[in-house]
Symmetry: C2
Subunit: 197 residues, 2 copies
């Protein structure tokens, strides 16, 4: 039990470290120390750094999942309004440090996929689950005649997440909200075909 709780502490502190400075930049000794464990003890808790990477990603995605669970439970307003509110909430989580952290799912997609098949596989299932959740609301928008109907809801949902990830990348570079404003005001409504022009 002590071992399990130490592992959780390492995952939690390691998530913060990896989100701040990247996966490859975070050495196993620094990760162990951040979690309050001896410098050399990393491999007592994780069979490999990739196994740790998956654990960190799962921990991060728990929060993403909690946020889209709220989106799905939300029944106030139009589907588009709910999606906008959802992305506004996600965005609030990233304002600290001037958007420098971005989304761990996007960061890992950029940095870790070429070298880690196991993390890439986990990202694939995470992106599917996220897309399916967004697709429920996109489908509601389509059924209400508030979104284009010539593209399947799942396809639109995946493209919305793509646009979001791209905006987060630019925000990491610019350290301003411009890209996220553009996402909310232009990208999201226009992908849905819901803009009010």
């Amino acid at each position: 039990m002590a071992g399990h709780s130490k592992r959780s502490q390492i995952v939690e502190a390691g998530l913060d470290l990896v989100h701040r400075q990247g996966f490859a930049s975070s050495g196993v000794a620094a990760i162990a120390v951040a979690g309050g464990a001896p410098k050399g003890s990393f491999y007592n808790h994780f069979a490999s750094k990739d196994v740790f990477g998956v654990a960190v990603l799962d921990k991060y995605f728990e929060e993403v999942r909690a946020e889209f669970a709220e989106l799905l439970a939300d029944t106030a307003g139009t589907p588009l309004g709910r999606l906008q509110r959802y992305f506004d909430l996600l965005r609030e989580g990233g304002t600290c440090e001037g958007y420098a952290r971005g989304c761990l799912v996007g960061n890992f997609s950029a940095e870790v996929t070429p070298t880690s098949p196991v993390i890439r596989a986990r990202l694939q299932s995470i992106l599917s689950e996220w897309r399916d959740a967004i697709a429920v609301v996109v489908q509601q928008a389509q059924d209400a005649g508030q979104a284009r109907q010539d593209v399947p809801a799942g396809t639109l949902a995946a493209l919305i997440i793509d646009a979001w990830q791209g905006a987060l990348l630019r925000a990491k570079v610019e350290r301003t909200s411009a890209a996220l404003d553009g996402f909310a005001q232009v990208l999201l409504p226009s992908v849905l075909g819901a803009d009010t022009r």
Copy 2:
């Protein structure tokens, strides 16, 4: 002169390495060796790893710049058609290794910006230059009544690049063309407000 040419060789081989496996994952010894230089000679050629990172990014962006110079010189067909052709060309460059490499500008945005102010500053000027080039064609589309006019061309151009970068991230995860198909068929025309629905 020999020193200069050796530096160029390290930048060229280092670009390939960094594009394949990430910046932090590419150690300075491996970078030197890839460029045919002695293992310990990296710092004879670069004052820091960040200086090398900027050189690699500049080298990479030379190609991106050559491609958008062709876009700007292109006069055949509609502005939207030219933009679509342009992104089709960019895409062809990434099909090897199943889209695993992605765009170095996006990869660096995700991985390196939190830890390197100098690389972040260079990414900022690169994104501005790229946006301005795309904006010329977006403006042509607006003037021809083929794109929405309620959002400035520069804003639309930046959002198009964001959407492109996001699609490339997903392609790195899925290793299929689905995200890039979605960009070409849905994201690009809908951001421009040019879809034919």
